[in-house]
Each structure stands twice: as C-alpha cells, then as structure tokens.
C-alpha cells in the first residue's frame, strides 16, 4: 500500500462517521428548503387558480410566457432594481461616511453604536407603520411638519407616485444604514495603524489615505456587506407592505409584493409561484456575480 492509499484507508471510517453525523442536518435542510423549492418550481408550471376549481392543469412554461407580456410584472421588476440599487448604494455611502466620522470622535463612541442598533432590531412592519402614521402623514406627521416649517409645504409623501417611491427607499435606507455603519466601523477599526502613520509621514492627505489605503483594505468587507444588503433589499416586503401596500396604484410594488398579491390576493397560485421563481433566480444571479467579484479581489 502506498502511503497516500494507506491514509485514505484510515480516513474512510472517519469520513463515514462524519457523513452519518451530518446526515440529520442535511436531511432537515432538504425537507425544509430543497423540497419546498422544487415544489415551487413544479407549481410554477401548472395552472392553479383557487377561484377556478377544476381548471388545474400542467402548462409547462406558459406562466413564464405570460410574465413576458405582463406589464405589471415588468413595472415591479424595474422598481425592484431601482429600489435595490439605490438603497444599497445609499446605505453604503452613508454607513461608510458615518463610520469614518465616528472613529474620529475620541470619546463615547458606544453611544452611537447603541443608537445604531435600534432601527435594526425593529421589525420591518413596525418600521413601515411608524413611518406611515407618525412621520409621513400629510398635515399630521413629523416629516410633514418639518417640511412645512422649512417653507417647503405639505406633501402627500406616500400618495404621490414619485414621493412614494422616494419614501419607501428612504425608509429602507433609514432602517439598514446602521447595519452597514456597524460593519464598516468594525472593518476600519481592525486596520493596522502603522500604514496610516507611514502615509502621514509621506504627507498623504486625508482623501489620499482614504482612497489608496482604507478603501483597498476594506474592499472585501464592502463586497460582503453589499451581498448581504442586496439579498435583503431584493426580498424586502413588510415595510413596503405596511407603508404603502405597493401603492399608490402599483408604483412601489416590488417583485416580492407582486408575487404575494398574485398568490394570496388573486389566488392564482401557479402564476404567483412563477413570479417567485424569477425573483429567486434574480437573487441568486446577483449573489453569484458578487461572489465572483469577491474571489477576484
């Protein structure tokens, strides 16, 4: 027996044991995630409409063809991209800026850390309701009061098509920027200080130190945080549902909300499943792209 073979032979029972130990976990995972996913895909290829009992049938890719010509789906698709892109970009810029700023405060940083946790621990549905009723109600809300006090006038923040989009983007950004802030705070605080000292001796100014030292060093952290934020933004639901319900009309309807409405309000389970499958594919695609960028980094 060659040494390598001997090693493999010795490892075999161990590997078998490892498999046996992992099996229950894997099984639970298959039952709770893989099977429902396969069922979702199976459902997306059927006509299942609870309002039309007796018309259930296999229809292959017809649901997907219908989506191709469904204006409301494409509107939701478009807004999902706008929503995800803008909220993630804003979270990143504001969160990073806050982290850089607060690291320069010599004392009481903990106050900011604790304050930052508050929005994160709130349930999104509470955030949506809180913004809808306390902050944005025309004539009564705090934001509207501020706007009137500043001479900008009262606005229908969740009723006007453009303002409603801005509002739901601001709500999501408000809730999740602190997450990016805390993540960035940790990443920057862990950077070696000698590099910055050397740069200072070389008379690099603050912008250059940020651009050529901080940014490259925290790049992996930025990519991870972007992946995390993207997947959450793509699957956002509760805050929009509570604040606008996708309205006015359908302007703040993201794909997730549309899939929910098709399935549970219109009771068209087959088509709803197809919409959900597309959202799943989109999320996986974005995540895969970003992981690739990360590996190349």
């Amino acid at each position: 027996m060659k040494p390598a073979e001997r090693l493999a032979f010795a490892e075999r029972p161990e590997r078998r044991f490892a498999l046996a130990m992992a099996a229950p976990g894997v099984l639970v995972l298959i039952v709770t995630t893989t099977l429902p996913l396969l069922y979702l895909i199976w459902q997306s290829m059927h006509n299942i409409n609870l309002a039309m009992p007796g018309m259930d049938r296999f229809m292959g890719l017809e649901n997907y063809e219908r989506m191709w010509g469904d204006e409301r789906f494409w509107a939701a698709f478009g807004f999902t991209l706008i929503y995800t892109g803008s909220t993630v970009a804003m979270q990143l810029v504001i969160g990073l800026a806050m982290a850089l700023l607060i690291l320069r405060i010599p004392r009481a940083q903990w106050v900011f850390r604790i304050a930052a946790i508050l929005p994160i621990v709130l349930a999104p549905v509470v955030v949506g309701l809180f913004w809808r009723s306390l902050m944005l109600t025309p004539d009564f809300g705090i934001v509207d009061f501020a706007s009137r006090s500043l001479g900008l006038g009262s606005h229908n923040w969740l009723g006007d098509p453009v303002l409603a989009r801005v509002s739901v983007i601001v709500i999501h950004t408000w809730q999740w920027t602190p997450f990016v802030f805390l993540y960035m705070l940790a990443a920057i605080a862990a950077l070696p200080s000698d590099l910055f000292e050397a740069a200072r001796i070389d008379r690099a100014n603050a912008w250059r130190r940020f651009r050529y030292i901080t940014l490259p060093l925290i790049r992996p952290a930025i990519i991870v945080v972007v992946i995390l934020r993207m997947t959450v933004a793509l699957s956002a639901f509760a805050a929009i549902y509570a604040a606008t319900g996708g309205g006015p009309g359908t302007v703040t309807e993201i794909i997730n909300l549309y899939a929910y409405r098709v399935s549970f309000a219109e009771l068209s389970l087959g088509y709803g499943a197809a919409v959900a499958v597309v959202l799943l594919a989109l999320t996986m695609l974005v995540a895969a792209l970003l992981f690739r960028v990360r590996r190349e980094a």
Partner: protein, 469 residues
C-alpha cells in the same frame, strides 16, 4: 423535641405551600368553571328543544378578528362550554390577513379552523370549491336546530342573503353594518345645512364647510387600495349611478358610461374636499380624523360609531348626526352589505361539524346577541347586532342611543331599505377582481391615469381574470 418540629415545619412549609398552590392551580379551572357555571344563567338556551350536549368533548377552533363584538363573545364562551361540553379555542388574526390565512387552511383541507369570521364576498369562492358546508341541512334538522327558538329569519335579510349562493346558505351573520352618512350636526345646524339627500348635496354641504386653513375638511371617503377598502365605497357609487357589474349576456362590465361617471365623481369628491392623506386612508383613519374634529362629514360603515363616541379619544361627542346614504343620479341609495359570517369547514369530521354548528347557533342566537350587547356589563357595547327584532328592542336601542342624532333610524333604513346584495360582483374570482379594481381606483385618485383609460384597462384585466388565464 420542640426545636425539631419547628425545624421540620420550617423546612416543610415552603413545600407544603407549593403543593397547596399546585393543587389549587390544577383545580382552578375546574373550580372556576364550576362556580361560574352555577352563576351562569343557561335557562334561555335550555329553552331550545335540542340536546346541546350532543357533541360533548369536541373542540371548535374559531379564527376571528380583534373587535368589541368578538371580544365580548369570547368573554361569554365559558357559558357555551358549560352548556355543551364543547371546548372553544379562538385565534385572533388581523383583519388584513384573516382571508389569506383561512384560504390556506380551507384549500389545504387541514381543517385547523372549524369556523371563522368570513367575508361574505368570499362565500362564492368557498361554495365553488365546496370548502364550506351549505347550512340548510343543519338549519332544517330538528335534532340540531330548534327553528322556533333560533328564529333564523329574524336575522337581517340582506346580511343573510349576502352569504347565500343559488339559494343555499353558506354562513350566518354574527354581526353586520351598513353604510351611512356621518356629519357634524353642530356645524350643519349653525349654517342651516341639512344632511345630503343627493350626491350633489353632499358636494354642496362639503363646499359650505370646507376650510383646510382652519383644519376643517368638507367630506371624505376611503382611498386606501384594497378589495375591502376603496372597493368598499366605490361599488356603492357605481350602483348609485345605475351601473351594473354584469351585462345582459352575463359578461362582466366595469367600464360602462355610468361606471365612468361614478369614478369621476369619486375622484372629484375626494380630491376636492378630503385631506390629501385620505388617498391612503381606511375607515379607522377617517373615523379618527372625524373624532378629532377635522372632518365635517363622511360616508362609511355604521360600526365606526363606538370610535366616534369614545370619551377618551373623541372631541365631537354630542355633536354627531347620522343620515341615510344619499340618492345617486339613478335615484338609488346603495349602501354596503357587510357582516362577519360564520361558516362550517367542510373538511371536518361529522361530529366536529355538529359541534361547530352548535357554536354558530349559540353565537348568532338572540340571547347571545343580547348578552354581548345591551346586557353586557362592561363598557364596550355593540352597535351591530344581527337581528331585526333587536333593532326594535327598547333596551337595545337605549344602549346605543349615545351614538348620536338619528343613528338608529339611519342604520335601520340602511340595512333594510338601502342594501343591495349585488352591490359588488359576487363571483369566486372576487378576490382578484377586487384587488385589480382597487389598484386602478387608487392610480386614478392620485392622478397617475385618467378615469376613462383606467376603466378600459380594468375591463381587459377583469375579463382575463374571469377567463382564468
């Protein structure tokens, strides 16, 4: 010797106390129920010539919403349990989610929900899928129902008919409401205004009192999108303009000239005289604004009266008047029909279905309606009982007389004269139609799309829904 006893007593004491408590705790529900049962007056129920204990030992699972009428019912449930030996478990679900939650249970046939607070507009869907039972076999079985005692025909007819498909009953109304005008009587009197009799008078009254600079808006209707929100109020206007949901050939029709005129009126009235935020308001928001004294009049359900007369929150107590829905251009007054109905899940075994029926019979009976309303000892009375005879009962009328001027007559007229069962299209596809129309109404209200274009789009979508593709 003494010391030892003392010592052992000292050690034993906590244990003894603990045992005593444990016994008390274990025995408590029985003791309480027993004591309660003795103080309960079950006589009025025992007058019914049925065996209330025929489904003893069964459990009935009820899904309902959080509201005064169900809270009072829940508090009375130990009486039902003592009467029948049936256990009742309640699950409170927010009104926005109860339909979806119930549909999941019914369609999967898991039978976790024996009966629930059902939206009458979902009855066609239930019937088409045979998810819930037709109730005639229960009503007509003398072993299960004493008709002379239960008096099913005493329940408000429009509400009963709203739960019927092809002459068969799929749910009984536990409570109900109708649409009425609510207005500030003090302001109307000061200006010599009368409650509106026509749609034009609504606008004239609103104009006379509309003064947003002084935080007073003239008139308001629901703007929030939803099958039960803006599609609660628009169908009344639609029918009052003489529009019909189905043409002579039975084809659905949402873009007739009358429908367009109705939509234009809705948009004009709300955008001219309601607070801007009302584009996203549901009835609690409207009732709040009215009770804060910022609305001169509105049209919505009669069951908001408890909000308007709540001394902790309302600033307009004693200043409220009510009137019937005004006549539309077609001469019709078309109020809504709303009730929470109780159906029986068809996926239950027979014994459990019988237990569920006994529960429904108990909840909808005159005695329970009385005990949850005017005989109720607590502060929260009901304004929404299900029986015509009760709406003539002086004790009941006295208990709701605090609602304000003319509430009782306006409500009785609303539910007996102004209710139209086909106020909304009663088809299994209603959930999809309601949602689609709701979205389109709100897009029109916020000015994203013109009314004509909106209804033409709606027509295409609604036809697609009816085809099931």
């Amino acid at each position: 010797m003494k010391t030892t006893t003392e010592k052992s007593a000292a050690i034993d004491l906590p244990r003894r106390v603990a045992i005593k408590h444990a016994v008390a705790l274990a025995g408590a529900p029985w003791v309480l129920r027993h004591a309660h049962a003795q103080s309960m007056d079950l006589g009025p129920y025992q007058n019914a010539k049925i065996n209330w204990r025929q489904a003893e030992g069964q459990t009935v699972n009820v899904s309902c919403i959080s509201a005064v009428y169900f809270d009072n019912l829940i508090a009375l449930t130990p009486e039902f349990e003592a009467l029948t030996g049936i256990k009742v478990r309640y699950d409170k679900v927010p009104p926005g989610q109860i339909r979806q939650k119930v549909v999941l249970d019914l369609s999967a046939k898991t039978a976790n929900i024996s009966t629930h607070a059902a939206d009458p507009m979902y009855i066609p869907l239930y019937a088409a899928n045979k998810w819930t039972e037709a109730l005639e076999p229960y009503l007509n079985d003398s072993k299960l129902t004493d008709r002379a005692w239960f008096k099913p025909d005493d329940m408000v007819e429009a509400w009963r008919r709203a739960n019927m498909i092809d002459g068969r009953t799929y749910g009984l109304p536990f409570m109900g409401e109708t649409t009425i005008q609510t207005y500030r009587k003090d302001l109307y009197d000061a200006q010599g205004l009368k409650p509106a009799e026509t749609f034009n008078e609504i606008i004239a009254n609103a104009k006379a009192l509309h003064n947003p600079a002084a935080r007073m808006w003239g008139f308001c209707m629901r703007g929030m999108p939803g099958a039960g929100q803006n599609m609660y109020i628009y169908p009344s206007i639609f029918r009052a303009y003489g529009a019909k949901w189905f043409d002579a050939g039975g084809k659905i029709q949402v873009n007739s000239p009358e429908a367009l005129a109705a939509l234009e009126w809705y948009v004009m009235a709300n955008n001219s005289y309601a607070p801007q935020a009302a584009q996203n308001w549901n009835w609690p928001d409207i009732a709040d604004a009215f009770s804060q004294g910022t609305l001169a009049s509105y049209i919505d359900g009669s069951s908001a009266a408890p909000v308007l007369t709540n001394p902790d929150r309302s600033k307009v107590i004693g200043k409220i008047g009510y009137a019937r829905w005004p006549k539309g251009p077609s001469g019709n007054r078309v109020g809504s029909i709303w009730n929470w109905a109780l159906p029986i899940n068809a996926a239950l075994p027979e014994k459990a279905r019988h237990a569920t029926w006994l529960f429904i019979q108990w909840a909808c009976s005159e005695e329970t309606q009385a005990r949850t309303s005017f005989k109720w000892k607590g502060p929260n009375k009901r304004y929404d009982v299900n029986r015509i005879s009760m709406w003539k009962n002086p004790d009941y009328l006295a208990s709701i007389s605090t609602a304000g001027h003319n509430f009782i007559n306006a409500t009785i007229d609303g539910m007996t004269l102004d209710s139209d069962v086909d106020w909304r299209p009663r088809v299994p596809q209603w959930p999809a139609i309601g949602e689609t129309m709701a979205k389109i109404l709100q897009s029109t209200l916020v000015g994203q799309i013109k009314p004509k274009q909106a209804l033409d789009d709606a027509q295409i979508q609604v036809e697609r829904i009816m085809r099931g593709s």
